[in-house]
Symmetry: C2
Subunit: 320 residues, 2 copies
């Protein structure tokens, strides 16, 4: 617990992500020795979303840095749903593909339910995002093998930081299938008392301010101000929001801040869901960037290795 007006401990997700990646190396080596090939991640990138390009490039770079293989399939923005589904079916059938990642968002023309239909079709054993309903159900039942990467990464961070949530009040702001709901389940399994808040929540501030652990997955820049935070609470900032108006950035971060300097170089900055003023109240806070983002990618690599190992075990069993 920090005193008010002291500075929150900076919870360096990037350092923990580095630890996660290093711990994967011997597992990958062992896999290569036994399987005579590297774990392989199949990726589908459809359309021309600029953010998706960056994310997919990062995922591929980091996979290959660890000695894993990747297989990127690109579809144009005008590709049909059937073309996307055909890629997934091919990845499903390919014995050397261990993990399948379909980058969101899919082109709108594929329909509103395209992503869910794709996730439904991915072989649950290759579902490294953990979005297939069977994997979602197993997560609820506390026996998941492939857990959605962002909440899984947050749990790793809490563990490495020695944050014990048992009996504590955890408040998750946001109820998405990707972050909010799986985060709530993971914290519940670690014996936290868990509250899920969202856009319809009355008294959001006072509920958030009762949290020992506050997870902000709102998608609104600097939405969670110091008033939302109990003194000494641990705050996890899941948001990655672009800000493009200089005056707004100056108002929040100050004229001489690094954010403004970065804006002046690049014309845009990425900010979290948490206001910098929370630093004066929280006991610990993840930075943006360098907090949850690197953890998410590290857990994708970890899930891919886990999937590869499980598939190798299964294939040995079926040979016996």
């Amino acid at each position: 617990m920090n005193e008010k007006n002291s500075t929150a401990e900076r919870l360096e997700g990037s350092l923990v992500a580095e630890n996660i990646r290093e711990a994967l190396r011997p597992r990958i080596d062992a896999f290569v020795t036994t399987a005579q090939r590297a774990p392989r991640l199949g990726l589908l990138l459809a359309g021309d979303d600029a953010g998706s390009e960056v994310y997919v490039r990062n995922k591929i770079l980091q996979s290959e840095k660890l000695g894993m293989e990747t297989d990127l399939r690109r579809l144009s923005a005008s590709a049909t749903f059937s073309e996307a589904m055909a890629v997934v079916q091919e990845f499903n059938a390919n014995l050397t593909v261990d993990g399948i990642l379909v980058q969101s968002p899919l082109p709108r023309s594929m329909g509103n339910d395209a992503e869910q239909r794709i996730f439904d079709a991915i072989d649950p054993k290759k579902d490294v995002d953990g979005f297939n309903p069977r994997n979602v159900g197993r997560l609820v039942q506390n026996r998941a093998t492939l857990v959605p990467c962002t909440p899984a990464g947050i749990v790793m961070l809490l563990d490495r930081q020695g944050v014990d949530v048992s009996g504590k009040h955890a408040v998750v702001i946001g109820r998405s299938d990707i972050v909010g709901k799986p985060m709530a389940m993971l914290l519940l399994h670690r014996h936290a008392t868990v509250t899920i808040c969202h856009s319809r929540t009355s008294n959001l501030k006072s509920i958030a301010a009762s949290a020992d652990l506050l997870v902000a997955a709102v998608g609104r820049p600097c939405f969670v101000t110091a008033e939302f935070v109990k003194n000494g609470a641990v705050v996890i900032d899941v948001g990655i929001n672009p800000m493009t108006v200089r005056e707004d950035i100056v108002e929040i971060f100050g004229e001489s801040s690094k954010k403004v300097q970065a804006f002046d170089r690049r014309g845009q900055v990425l900010v979290g869901d948490v206001h910098p003023g929370v630093n004066n109240v929280a006991g610990g806070l993840t930075p943006v960037p360098g907090g949850v983002g690197p953890l998410t990618i590290a857990m994708l690599l970890s899930n891919t290795v886990s999937a590869a190992e499980a598939r190798l075990r299964d294939s040995k069993l079926s040979v016996k």
Copy 2:
């Protein structure tokens, strides 16, 4: 909202259950007309648990009263896991079985994970308890067709009573796969702010007392006292606990209470998780018996009809 010391509205689950059953009649008639057979529920009862006997008898009686068919398979307490699995596989394969119910608990000799392995094996389309991981995942994703019966029944009760939980604070005490977790998800989808509490929760009383809707699924007789309840809150009592010591019953319910009279006739009474003193604080309260219990069975019938209808639609589609 009721004033303190007035009596909470009695939320008659048995009346709502009757409405649910009546609404099923025309659907069953239509099914019979089209399918030339009645919807059928396959039940597996293994072992000699006295409570299970009563539950299964009730489920069969109520199914048949509505014109549905049942197929009860009994296994002795010494039956093996393989025998139980064989019954499930037979139900899965049988085209005239629409729903499959495996009564908990299975005999201990079948192993700790026997129930989950059985639920994993049940055809998700016949999984009228909603315990198969695929159905659990679909519930989390807010697109379930077969929802666990107790929380589904509670939602029906809230709807019929006109209780709107949107933006309100719902507190669920209990985190079981059967009640607590699916209840939390259903309330979240109805836009409640949801807190899940459990045995490790600190400050349980004060968290419960902040709830507009309090769902008690603790399994401890009369555990939730008036101090746990905000004035005017709606309280749902999921507990069904036997009490067998007369003095305890007298102390809680009073010497001249119906509970004591019932005990003097039968040597045992069933009580909920909620203390009768809550009647003086809550705005509404489900009785035990006559509250959640009848709703649970009604939703089992409803799930069986829904499963039958869906299977009929699927078979027509596959004929086309």
